[in-house]
């Protein structure tokens, strides 16, 4: 196959980076890559109309994020061949292992032999043709595109499939949830014929069966017994005799075995009788249970009515140990304070020095956390960008990809790389100033993203390759890696695709921060974002928000301990997040060892969330300014957590941006005030020794002594 014009690239003689860089910069030509021997991330991020022949077997992610050209692997391929392919062709002459064509958005992937587990997982438009068999969970959560299998498919084919099509010639061991065999539609056979022809594989189209979505999982199944009974025209009295519990016409009803239901005596008479014979005052009848308080009772009634867990936004609402339980000692005689305004107190932080060609430089150690367009309105994203720009800090995309507007309005933009890979594409990733690989989120460590149908508008749906109006439930694990041993290969691929230009962060929910931080370092991250359980969300199960993860105050020290043990504290940067509200919170997080913090909910409040300006509108939708938490509902009067064009107009992005800039300025001034008061000329010189704890729990979690003592519970000195 060697032609006179071939350029031969040898993986023994040249580095992977040199070879990938050569291929990425080529706009035309024929290249032969020799001696791959299972190497990872070979020929990734190609953009030119070139042909590449890889003469042997490759490891993970060969031809990852491929565009336009043709890559042929003359051998077998490891995990994630052609992952997130956009266009062009990738061909494997042998077999492929797991996650072939994962999240592919377009183009053609041909595997002449067999493909392993999760072939075509979360595919978003790619066509995948497999000459042999595929492993289990083929086309898992497949959104669009076509998977053609000439051989057999193993168990759970098409589990949670969306609008992708699957054609299988051989047997199917079992179908996954919501996947059904479907009729061939007009055009299906022609499409199949065309794909087989493009793949160069021979098969009779009449031998294939088609599988697709039953669309039964597109939206949550929500019961509403109360509405049913109301519709049946039953009276309240009748309801109470049945199992009637729940909220009916806004009035909370008693439980079904209300002893007064058949009592002819009016309620006020019963009360008097109780007082008279039992010696109990009126208050006895209004005594709230601590175990079953009004919120608990209301939630049980809601659950009994709907049969679905409560989904909401915001963060944890119950009382949790916070940074408020720490105080700074300040300076006096043994330490000398700095003068405000006159004596400098630095606030800058640089992320990614060493590995990235373009490290991220932030003027203040406060970043804006990842929040997607989709969960937020375009106006809100713009306001966040404007505010962050004014303050000299970064904003972050979210689970849905990058919009041109947010790129335009954010000078420093961090691109989130999430399990769903919604909207993920190599062009946008190359426009980013940093990449944040999201493993988890403080509000829901171990859970995936969620966006309810009312916010999956036409534009949001198109960006995510989803049907409009579905209740989107994102994957909780990445489709093509699990664990740090695989993550270090994924990071290599990402670095190759962006030519080692920008830093790579890893974001984890505060689950086991000591281990997660150590593993993120071992996997090669430039920065670690640890998001405590107070971290907010646009939508997830309430049980997740309130019951999973550890509070931020407990997480920071554990991450720092891991960084120090590995000798990389202050080198690999730590960004703490989750319930940061004030300059005091920022200063305390830094004193505990973080290099920066990230804010989400606080930033939304700054731009107008829960504003009293919309008091009446909040009341109309059953809430009140200061209480609004239903970010999932899409009915936000402040125009922030909505996709409704009318509501979105309630937010002026310029004004919102100014408000955020002011807020960030206050956080910074407060941070500097505290740092100067402790004698620091740079906020990064704050340290745990500058702190004292007010409660035993804060002392134990933050590993800071209780005020007035040198005692840290649990630490043997």
């Amino acid at each position: 196959m060697s032609k006179a014009t071939d350029e031969v690239l040898n993986l023994h003689q040249q580095s992977l980076r040199e070879i990938n860089s050569r291929l990425r910069k080529a706009t035309a030509g024929h290249f032969v890559v020799t001696d791959p021997h299972g190497a990872h991330a070979v020929a990734v991020g190609i953009t030119g109309d070139i042909t590449v022949e890889i003469m042997g077997s490759v490891g993970y992610y060969a031809a990852g994020m491929h565009q336009r050209g043709t890559v042929t692997v003359h051998g077998n391929a490891g995990t994630g061949i052609g992952e997130n392919i956009m266009s062009g062709t990738v061909r494997v002459i042998g077999s492929a292992t797991m996650s072939a064509g994962a999240t592919g958005c377009g183009g053609l992937l041909v595997i002449e032999g067999n493909a392993g587990a999760r072939c075509g997982i979360s595919m978003k438009g790619v066509d995948v043709v497999v000459g042999g068999n595929i492993g289990h969970m083929g086309a898992f959560m497949a959104q669009a595109g076509t998977l053609v299998v000439l051989g057999d498919a193993d168990h759970h084919l098409g589990d949670s499939i969306y609008e992708a099509n699957v054609f299988v010639r051989g047997s199917v061991a079992s179908l996954g949830a919501d996947c059904v065999e479907a009729e061939m539609r007009p055009g299906d056979l022609e499409h199949l014929e065309m794909l087989l022809s493009r793949a160069g594989l021979q098969a009779e189209v009449g031998d294939f069966r088609r599988y697709g979505s039953a669309r039964r999982l597109y939206n949550f199944s929500v019961d509403d017994i109360d509405a049913e009974l109301r519709d049946a025209g039953l009276r309240d009295a009748e309801l109470r005799r049945g199992s009637g519990c729940g909220i009916i016409d806004g009035t909370k009803q008693g439980s079904g075995d209300d002893p007064g239901a058949d009592d002819p005596e009016p309620a006020h008479d019963r009360k008097n009788l109780s007082s008279k014979y039992l010696g109990i005052g009126d208050d006895w009848h209004h005594r709230e249970s601590h175990t079953f308080d009004r919120n608990v009772i209301s939630e049980i009634q809601r659950a009994a009515n709907t049969g679905i867990y409560r989904i909401r936004g915001f963060g944890a609402k119950r009382r949790l140990p916070t940074l408020d339980d720490l105080v700074f000692l300040g300076a006096s005689m043994s330490r000398y304070p700095l003068e405000g305004y006159r004596e400098d107190c630095g606030t800058d932080v640089t992320i990614g020095e060493g590995k990235a060609e373009r490290p991220v430089y932030l003027r203040i150690p406060i970043t804006i956390a990842g929040m997607s367009f989709g969960s937020l309105s375009a106006q809100a994203k713009e306001a966040l960008g404007r505010g962050a720009n004014a303050a000299g800090t970064s904003t972050t995309t979210g689970d849905g990809g990058m919009t041109p507007e947010e790129r335009k309005h954010s000078s420093i933009l961090v691109y989130q790389y999430l399990p769903s890979r919604y909207g993920m594409n190599p062009d946008d990733i190359r426009k980013a100033d940093a990449i944040e690989v999201v493993v988890g989120q403080g509000a829901k460590p171990g859970g995936g993203g969620m966006l309810l149908g009312q916010k999956v508008s036409e534009r949001v749906a198109a960006m995510r390759t989803l049907p409009e109006g579905v209740d989107q439930r994102s994957a909780c694990r990445h489709p093509d890696w699990t664990g740090p041993d695989d993550l270090q290969i994924k990071i290599l691929e990402l670095r190759e695709i962006v030519d080692w230009q920008v830093p790579i962060y890893i974001k984890v929910g505060a689950a086991r921060p000591y281990y997660d931080t150590a593993l993120a370092v071992k996997a090669g991250a430039d920065a670690i974002v640890v998001d405590g359980m107070q971290g907010g969300t646009a939508a997830t199960q309430e049980v997740f928000i309130e019951h999973v993860g550890v509070p931020t105050i407990a997480a920071i020290g554990e991450s720092v301990r891991a960084l120090k043990e590995l000798g990389v504290h202050r080198e690999v940067k730590l960004i703490a997040a989750g319930g940061i509200r004030s300059g005091a919170d920022v200063a305390k997080a830094l004193a505990l060892g973080a290099d920066a913090v990230s804010i989400g909910t606080a930033a939304l409040i700054a731009i107008g969330d829960n504003s009293p300006h919309f008091a009446e509108q909040y009341r109309v939708i059953g809430s009140a300014a200061g209480y609004w938490e239903d970010y999932q509902a899409g009915t936000d009067p402040a125009g922030i957590t909505t996709q409704d064009p009318e509501l979105s107009r309630h937010l002026d992005p310029v004004i919102g941006g100014r408000r955020l800039a002011n807020y960030l300025q206050v956080l910074t001034l407060e941070l500097q005030t505290l740092a100067r008061a402790n004698g620091k000329s740079h906020v990064h010189n704050l340290e745990p020794e500058d702190l004292a704890a007010l409660t035993v729990e804060a002392a134990a979690m933050a590993k800071v002594p209780i005020a007035g003592t040198s005692w840290i519970p649990g630490v043997i000195s």
Binding site: S57, T482, D485, I489, R512
Partner: protein, 299 residues
């Protein structure tokens, strides 16, 4: 989180190269496990001797004194081959008794393996250095399993390194992360197993040891682990005359198998297999989830 490799030589063709081939596979798994490494080697000597591998981490005691004492107890000749902080005791006497005596009578010494054919070495540090320190490349034999470790939740120690012994001539290497090992460890302790670390993989090994002791075949014990072990795992298991591979039902952790008429190789990544001879003739495939693969020297 780790890299694992296994090489099982069905014919005599490459048995003199077992160590060299295993070392080259291990070398390719360094990035997956920079913290520590270990290997178990099953040699092809024909003498019917029992062997016990011991580790005195960080020091090199005078093993000849121990050998003399053990000889007195067993009433059989005992030879000892020290190698850095490891040593292999060999005797025609009762192997289990030798193992128990070494456990009971030596302080600060861990018994890593016992059996007729297995020798097991492990140490903290760069996998290549571990292979060279313990002379892996020069070893001959029928099969080997080896491991490179990136510690997740348990400490980076020699004891936490794989392979883990699961009984006479049987050991296990693991890539993944179990989620019910703490309660399973308690159950196994009640069943008489003992554990030296808080490592999840040691619990998997202890589970297999318990099942094998209760009379399960290796195949049955591995199938049992599909029911009793929760979480993510790819296992490679060596036995006196066999080799097995198992992935959990979800099968997120990678595994590749290659097989020719002469050998079977398994690894976390293909690059380890790419180092092997006659690869062009090999059938290369990804093992299916929840399926026990076994190979045996016994027809």
């Amino acid at each position: 989180m780790c890299g694992i490799v296994g090489l099982f030589l069905k014919t005599a063709k490459y048995r003199s190269d077992l160590g060299r081939l295993t070392a080259s596979m291990l070398h390719e798994m360094r990035a997956r496990g920079p913290d520590s490494a270990g290997f178990a080697i099953y040699d092809d000597r024909t003498e019917e001797l029992n062997r016990v591998t011991v580790l005195a981490e960080g020091h090199q005691p005078d093993w000849s004194v121990t050998a003399v004492e053990l000889q007195r107890v067993l009433q059989e000749t005992v030879e000892v081959r020290p190698l850095r902080d490891h040593a292999v005791f060999e005797t025609a006497g009762d192997g289990r008794r030798a193992r128990q005596w070494l456990i009971d009578n030596l302080d600060d010494v861990d018994v890593l393996s016992f059996g007729k054919r297995i020798e097991l070495y492990k140490a903290v540090g760069d996998p290549d250095r571990v292979a060279s320190d313990y002379d892996l490349a020069s070893r001959t034999g029928t099969h080997a399993v080896a491991h490179t470790r990136m510690a997740t939740e348990s400490a980076v120690t020699t004891n936490g390194s794989h392979p883990f012994l699961t009984g006479a001539d049987t050991c296990l290497v693991h890539n993944g992360s179990l989620s019910n090992h703490n309660q399973l460890r308690e159950r196994l302790v009640r069943c008489g197993e003992s554990f030296q670390t808080d490592n999840d993989s040691e619990v998997a090994a202890g589970y297999l040891a318990w099942r094998l002791r209760e009379g399960d075949t290796l195949n049955e014990a591995l199938r049992g682990s599909l029911v009793d072990l929760d979480g993510f795992y790819t296992f490679a298991v060596g036995t006196e005359d066999g080799f097995a591979v198992l992935r959990d039902p979800i099968a997120c952790k990678p595994a590749v198998i290659a097989e020719t008429d002469d050998w079977v190789a398994m690894s976390s990544e293909y690059r380890a297999i790419a180092t092997l001879p006659d690869l062009a003739d090999a059938e290369v495939f990804e093992p299916e989830p929840a399926r026990v693969y076994t190979w045996s020297l016994v027809a």
